[in-house]
Subunit: 149 residues, 2 copies
């Protein structure tokens, strides 16, 4: 129905890629949950926070960096705070603002999760690509992701 005006090649490629688009994130998510009790969203928040030397990031800046809505991050941060992975602090520069801070527990969880996650990304993805394929994929991904919304 949705493919009647695609060429055979386009149709097959699009179908195959759609399968990848659903299967790969699902598998990585499963691995992450099983190995570390984290969701991909949890992992992204933890790892992005850990990039800052003081493990702190203003909510709005973290949201912008991750390309999340502030609402989404606010919801998610509340849940992660309840689990002790992060803290919230008032922003001294802006009374409206909110600083998110990676707790020691959160950092430990991340440290233990990272090597498993890396193995997972390799086993389910990177290990099955040739250097050429990796280069093509990177180029095309950048081009398409960089298109305007």
């Amino acid at each position: 129905m949705d493919t009647q005006w695609l060429s055979k090649d386009e149709e097959h490629a699009w179908r195959a890629f759609r399968r990848l688009l659903t299967a790969l994130p699902a598998r990585l998510s499963q691995d992450l949950a099983r190995d570390s009790g984290l969701s991909p969203a949890d992992y992204e928040v933890l790892s992005t926070l850990s990039e800052k030397p003081n493990r702190r990031w203003a909510l709005k800046d973290l949201a912008a960096k991750m390309e999340w809505s502030r609402s989404r991050l606010s919801h998610h941060a509340a849940r992660m705070q309840a689990r002790g992975l992060i803290d919230k602090e008032p922003d001294p520069q802006d009374a409206r603002g909110c600083i998110l801070h990676l707790t020691d527990d959160g950092f430990t969880v991340l440290e233990e999760a990272a090597p498993h996650h890396l193995r997972s990304v390799r086993a389910r993805f990177l290990d099955h690509l040739s250097p050429d394929e990796l280069a093509v994929l990177r180029k095309l991904s950048t081009r398409i992701a960089d298109l305007p919304d």
Copy 2:
């Protein structure tokens, strides 16, 4: 944090591909919602149902075909039924079963959605790939999606 044991090439490719993995489905979903008031899940159910000559499919078979859990499809079908897009009928072959049926309204919605969706897939994806890239992407997508879970 999660990339310290990836080569530079792997890291860049993985980062770029991850952006694609989130950006592309989000854009297609936005287009679909704006143009037709459908979610990608709605669209998949409608278009898969429309493939059968009688527009009917047992819930368990449809779920298997789409690689959804029966629970997910049961929830989603209930919401789509409330909107008049599909019907539910008892299965004459199996009293436990349930047949999903694409209504005339649902078919009309799909018919009007399809060309918009196709344009969207082209504009946000296919139009920006060379035939070679498309071939590489298809091959690698199939290989990785076909890995065991």
